[in-house]
């Protein structure tokens, strides 16, 4: 029951943030993001819910608008890394020779902390939303490859794959119809985690000043600008901070929820487990 509430809460938060971001242009006052030198660093009030920044812009409006970039980066990185990781993971898990090559490359990439790798890449490519997406996708896919590969290796030894081979079913069909559907759950779960990690990484990169151009509002950029005012205008840093924490927390909760939902043991409880037990005893 508790888990159900948690999942609903997570989904609710994400839905709310997404909706607010998409519809922002319709209901945010047009001048909310304009520079207003008379209203600099106002604390939160009825008029400015989250206060204003050093140019007198409304922080609530900024946080909402910034969410767009963060979410776009998160979704795209999650998608690209997942697709790339799934393909390489399937191949590595299924073909022994490819496995050696792919895994050595992955091992090499995993030797760097992924954020450091992304940092180096963005520094080389230059900061823009596209480059951030490229850099982050590149540094996150090896994890996905590993997960998919280990899931495939586990299933590969299960008899229905062998049965498919003896039935003369071709490798592409085995990969897409037999392996992929059965490793989909860890992929989706890991995908949500990559989503969360990408949002965090984007914020971190922007905060460090190598991310998205400073003119584009992102949560990372806001934090970066806010850091000098942290003692006189703490709300400037607190609200984008809360936005990041909420989104990432909701994504992680959703990931956990998905993992539970996909876990066949959690679903069909004791009976199946017992039966599993009995079948193994005959393995001799």
């Amino acid at each position: 029951m508790l888990k159900k509430k948690r999942n609903l809460l997570a989904a609710g938060i994400l839905l709310l943030i997404t909706l607010m971001t998409i519809t922002a242009s319709w209901w945010l006052p047009a001048n909310a993001l304009e520079i207003n030198s008379t209203e600099r660093l106002f604390s939160p009030s009825g008029e400015h819910w989250f206060g204003t920044d050093h140019f007198g812009r409304d922080i609530f409006a900024q946080t909402i608008v910034a969410a767009r970039v963060s979410l776009i980066v998160g979704v795209t990185v999650a998608l690209i890394a997942t697709i790339l990781g799934t393909i390489t993971g399937l191949i590595a898990g299924y073909y022994k020779k490819a496995d050696f090559i792919i895994m050595r490359i992955i091992d090499g990439m995993l030797a760097f902390p992924s954020l450091l790798l992304a940092l180096a890449l963005v520094a080389a490519l230059g900061g823009s939303v596209t480059n951030i997406i490229i850099a982050l996708s590149f540094s996150f896919w090896p994890v996905m490859t590993r997960i998919v590969r280990s899931a495939v290796l586990q299933i590969n030894s299960v008899q229905y794959i062998e049965a498919a081979k003896t039935s003369g079913i071709s490798d592409p069909v085995i990969l897409t119809r037999y392996l992929l559907p059965n490793v989909l759950s860890p992929i989706i779960v890991q995908g949500t985690f990559i989503f969360a990690k990408a949002i965090l990484a984007e914020a971190a990169l922007s905060f460090l000043g190598v991310g998205v151009e400073p003119s584009t509002p992102t949560w990372g950029n806001m934090l970066q600008e806010a850091q000098i005012y942290i003692s006189i205008a703490p709300w400037f840093s607190i609200f984008p901070g809360i936005a990041i924490v909420l989104t990432v927390l909701a994504l992680n909760m959703l990931g956990d929820g998905l993992r539970d939902a996909f876990d066949p043991h959690a679903k069909s409880t004791k009976k199946t487990k017992r039966r599993r037990g009995t079948k193994q005893k005959y393995a001799a």
Partner: protein
């Protein structure tokens, strides 16, 4: 010594409440071997775990019944009191010997630990006792093997070690849950022989849970046949194997592949599949598969009735009716008339 009265064990699952054990009563006397036979899903394993109170609560619960062991109802005991009885008075061995042993400790240490938990003695004495136990269960070179880890033992040897651990404190009752199913036949023969020897030496009562009627015929004094959470027949081995009085027992015995069969002799089927415990069939649980079922079986849920001295069966057919039905069917089979 052990008396189970009208025990019901139910498990709350997402699909509904599973009536794993549905009103089971039986007794075990000191030094006796009671065989409980049933297919997977018949509730035999849950029953064994219920006696030891090893089912996780929840989802398991015991809405009715008593398990009386030496005058105490195990269902009312606290966890602490239970712990005293488990191992000390009642021990259990399981189907999969590997998962019952801790892989990171030496066999010797696990045995010494088992001895010390239940008996007060010095570590040195406990060690000597452990070696003695390993000798008893037929492990060659026990002194040296005390220092080995579980993975260095084969399946059969591990089961011997588990039996040694179970014997560590001289239990009065040993519950064996499919102890030989994971083993090869030749190793199974060894373990069964060992269990018989142990019983002679220690006078332990044994509850032997298995799906293998052959194992029961070799080991048991008394047999309980379980089907979908109930005991459907109870009797001595001779009763069960020579005078089965419940259609399920009879069909099951007939359907087994036999060594003394003619080559290529056709086996006799039991139609259908074992029932689902969430929504068991109305009336007699076995009626959808029973060759003798009548309309009455759809409504009447038969109780165990007396068929002889200590022989009970749950079937609405009387002994005589059942005998004539059996003869008719055996005759039809011989003539090759389809049922």
């Amino acid at each position: 010594m052990l008396e189970v009265k009208q025990l019901k064990t139910q498990i709350d699952t997402n699909e509904g409440v599973v009536k794993a054990v549905d009103g089971v009563s039986f007794t075990v006397e000191a030094g006796q071997t009671v065989g409980i036979v049933g297919e997977s899903g018949s509730g035999k394993s849950v029953l064994a775990h219920s006696i030891m109170q090893l089912n996780p609560v929840p989802p398991t619960f015991y809405p009715e019944g008593e398990i009386i062991f030496e005058g105490k109802n195990l269902l009312n005991l606290s966890e602490r009191e239970l712990r005293k009885i488990r191992g000390n008075e009642i021990a259990m061995i399981f189907q999969d010997p590997m998962s019952s042993l801790n892989p990171v400790f030496k066999i010797g240490d696990q045995l010494v630990e088992a001895v010390l938990t239940h008996q007060k003695m010095s570590r040195q004495d406990a060690r000597a006792r452990a070696v003695e136990l390993l000798t008893d269960v037929g492990i060659p070179d026990p002194e040296r093997r005390m220092n080995d880890y579980p993975h260095q033992f084969s399946g059969g040897m591990r089961q011997r070690v588990l039996i040694a651990i179970a014997l560590a404190c001289n239990p009065k009752l040993l519950i064996a849950d499919e102890p030989t199913t994971a083993l090869d036949v030749t190793i199974q023969a060894q373990i069964l022989e060992l269990m018989r020897d142990i019983q002679k030496k220690y006078g332990t009562a044994i509850i032997m849970i298995t799906h293998d009627l052959g194992v029961v015929s070799q080991m048991a004094d008394k047999v309980l046949v379980m089907y979908s959470g109930r005991i459907v027949e109870e009797g001595s081995v001779e009763d069960i194997f020579y005078r089965p009085s419940m259609p399920y027992t009879w069909s099951l015995l007939r359907s087994l592949p036999r060594l003394d069969a003619e080559a290529h002799e056709r086996l006799i089927n039991i139609e259908g599949q074992p029932p689902n415990l969430v929504s068991p069939p109305k009336g007699c649980n076995f009626h959808p598969r029973c060759p003798f079922s009548t309309e009455q079986c759809l409504e009447v849920d038969p109780e165990l009735t007396v068929r002889g001295d200590g022989h009970f069966a749950a079937c609405i057919l009387s002994g005589q009716e059942f005998d004539s039905e059996k003869k008719r069917m055996e005759f039809a089979d011989k003539k090759g008339v389809p049922q």
